[in-house]
């Protein structure tokens, strides 16, 4: 379908692009005329040690999932996309005998082989206690990001960062993690002296850091809080409504299958998208973004007849 704007674009790229920009030979403007930088975010949640597909007699999800298949799918996407971030929202552990036999070793090794960029911690990732988690960490080449658990009084002190900034062709993507309240959900001895901190306060603080000093262009929250509770318990939707500056919440815990990301208005009016893709690696979430440089001076864009996003 050719829209009027497509037509305009063709015209502008064909004329303005070649003549005006060509004359400027300015890197900023030249960059603006290039294809936007693309980013493909791939994500999973609650994989629950589902190394192999559900067995063919495995009920509702029979024959679905499987990490060797997921690896091939990811590899295929990587071969087509320059910038890929592969993320997970926790509960990697527990659910099949692979976890009982090997304690999560194979899960972490396979995720490392698939080149996961980051994960957060789910409640089941504590199922073999802090020691059990610590034993498997050397098998993971990716970081576990968690902003609202304080491990300082545990053997895992200093092992986890609240966030990580990834840079793709100059675009800065801030990723941070949030975990669910452990008390009542995880046996006391399994989380020990790990302190749970308010997710809203920690998210607000972390986003300020990512949007401020870290100059992030996109902010992603890996959340194991859960998609939605009728009660007052914090969930991804409440988080989105209470904290500004998060572009995307990749959720987990509630094993929610979402056909499309859900936008929630944050306090500053801008939408935060929430996505969650079920569990057990039945699905691989895929969200594509494009990034265009913001123009700080009046250039070609402001002079044109096309609508332009407000320049800062």
């Amino acid at each position: 379908m050719t829209t009027r704007r497509d037509f305009l674009r063709q015209s502008l790229l064909g004329t303005a692009g070649l003549t005006v920009l060509g004359g400027l030979a300015n890197t900023a403007e030249a960059a603006a005329a290039k294809e936007p930088i693309k980013l493909t975010i791939l994500h999973t949640n609650d994989m629950h040690s589902r190394i192999e597909p559900f067995p063919d007699n495995g009920g509702q999800w029979a024959g679905l999932g499987g990490m060797a298949r997921r690896a091939a799918l990811i590899k295929d996407i990587r071969s087509k996309e320059a910038n890929v971030l592969l993320l997970d929202s926790g509960d990697i552990f527990q659910g099949t005998p692979y976890f009982n036999f090997f304690g999560g070793e194979l899960e972490y090794k396979l995720m490392s082989e698939m080149k996961y960029d980051a994960s957060t911690l789910g409640n089941h990732d504590f199922d073999n206690g802090l020691d059990g988690l610590m034993r498997q960490l050397p098998n993971a080449t990716f970081p576990f990001l968690i902003a609202n658990y304080d491990f300082s009084k545990t053997p895992l002190a200093g092992r986890f960062a609240p966030y990580k900034v990834f840079e793709k062709q100059g675009v800065r993507i801030g990723v941070f993690g949030l975990g669910i309240q452990l008390a009542g959900l995880v046996g006391d001895k399994n989380f020990g002296a790990t302190e749970y901190l308010d997710p809203v306060a920690k998210a607000t603080e972390t986003v300020a850091q990512l949007r401020g000093a870290e100059k992030c262009d996109l902010v992603i929250c890996l959340s194991h809080l859960g998609y939605k509770y009728e009660s007052a318990k914090i969930d991804d939707r409440k988080l989105a409504a209470q904290v500004s500056g998060i572009d995307l919440i990749l959720g987990g815990h509630t094993h929610t299958f979402m056909d499309a990301p859900e936008p929630i208005a944050s306090p500053d009016g801008k939408p935060t998208l929430i996505n969650q893709v079920g569990w057990s690696g039945i699905n691989l979430g895929r969200l594509d973004y494009e990034f265009s440089p913001k123009t700080k001076r009046a250039g070609l864009a402001s002079a044109s007849v096309v609508p332009v996003r407000a320049a800062c």
């Binding site: 603006a32 190394i51 679905l64 690896a71 005998p97 800065r172 056909d259 936008p263 895929r286």
Partner: protein
């Protein structure tokens, strides 16, 4: 910039959402341009990555060899369900028996919640794999010496969800409270000054599933994993020529 504006407009037609932050220090403005499917199924038509499949293979072989061991036979399925269920009765009963054997003393009560059991047992051969499915957690069988007041709290918790307690019967009042509690056929007196040993998982003993009333009690260890207790019990039934059975028998009266 120009192109981004155009793409934004185009993307709006595809029901996508622009998420550009406002006047922030960031240098780039993001625009969501989602593919028609944001949740891609990992199905049977997806080929496997051979390198990853090769990494899995040796682990797979170790697991399957052990999981296929047949422990016993169930003529009927042992289902898990809300309220009193065959599977929870089966497990809570064997917890009492095993704890009693390990500690060489009577254990009058046993507790297992529906949520603590992760899968029902199908009719037919019961394999080690099926025991793993129903009890995947590394939970230890422990014994709590609960004062009568805490036992009363246990029954209040149980009555609220009509959960059976092994070794006991009770009825539920119209407003969800326990009455006519009997432990080993003896009427339970919540004011009696004594403790009641309860065979339970360390998960529940430490307050899991909202059993916060147990948290102050120091558990006695059996050093037996609950899963092993279940597997061992089924093996011993088979050895004695007995099938794997359990039923709802009115431990909770309406």
């Amino acid at each position: 910039m120009l192109q981004n504006s155009f793409r934004t407009a185009l993307a709006a037609l595809l029901v996508v959402v622009a998420v550009a932050p406002g006047c922030q220090r960031a240098a780039y403005a993001p625009t969501a341009r989602f593919a028609p499917t944001t949740s891609q199924p990992v199905g049977k038509t997806q080929a496997e990555d051979p390198a990853v499949a090769a990494m899995i293979a040796p682990y797979h072989d170790k697991v399957t060899t052990q999981m296929q061991e047949v422990l016993g036979t169930a003529p009927m399925p042992l289902l898990k369900a809300q309220g009193e269920s065959p599977l929870a009765n089966f497990v809570a009963d064997l917890q009492r028996a095993r704890a009693s054997q390990v500690l060489s003393e009577p254990v009058p009560l046993g507790v297992m919640t529906n949520g603590g059991l992760r899968a029902s047992l199908s009719a037919g051969p019961v394999t080690l794999g099926s025991v793993f499915e129903l009890m995947p957690f590394e939970n230890e069988l422990v014994v709590l010496d609960a004062p009568s007041a805490v036992v009363q709290q246990l029954f209040e918790y149980a009555a609220n969800i009509k959960m059976a307690v092994s070794g006991a019967t009770y009825a539920v009042t119209f407003d969800g409270l326990p009455k006519d509690i009997r432990i080993g056929n003896q009427v339970f007196d919540p004011n009696q000054d004594r403790t009641w040993p309860i065979a339970i998982s360390d998960y529940l003993a430490s307050g899991g599933d909202n059993m916060g009333f147990f948290k102050t009690i120091e558990p006695r260890h059996t050093n037996v994993l609950l899963r092993n207790a279940i597997a061992d019990h089924i093996r011993s039934l088979t050895k004695a020529g007995q099938p794997v059975t359990a039923k709802v028998e009115g431990r909770v009266k309406q």
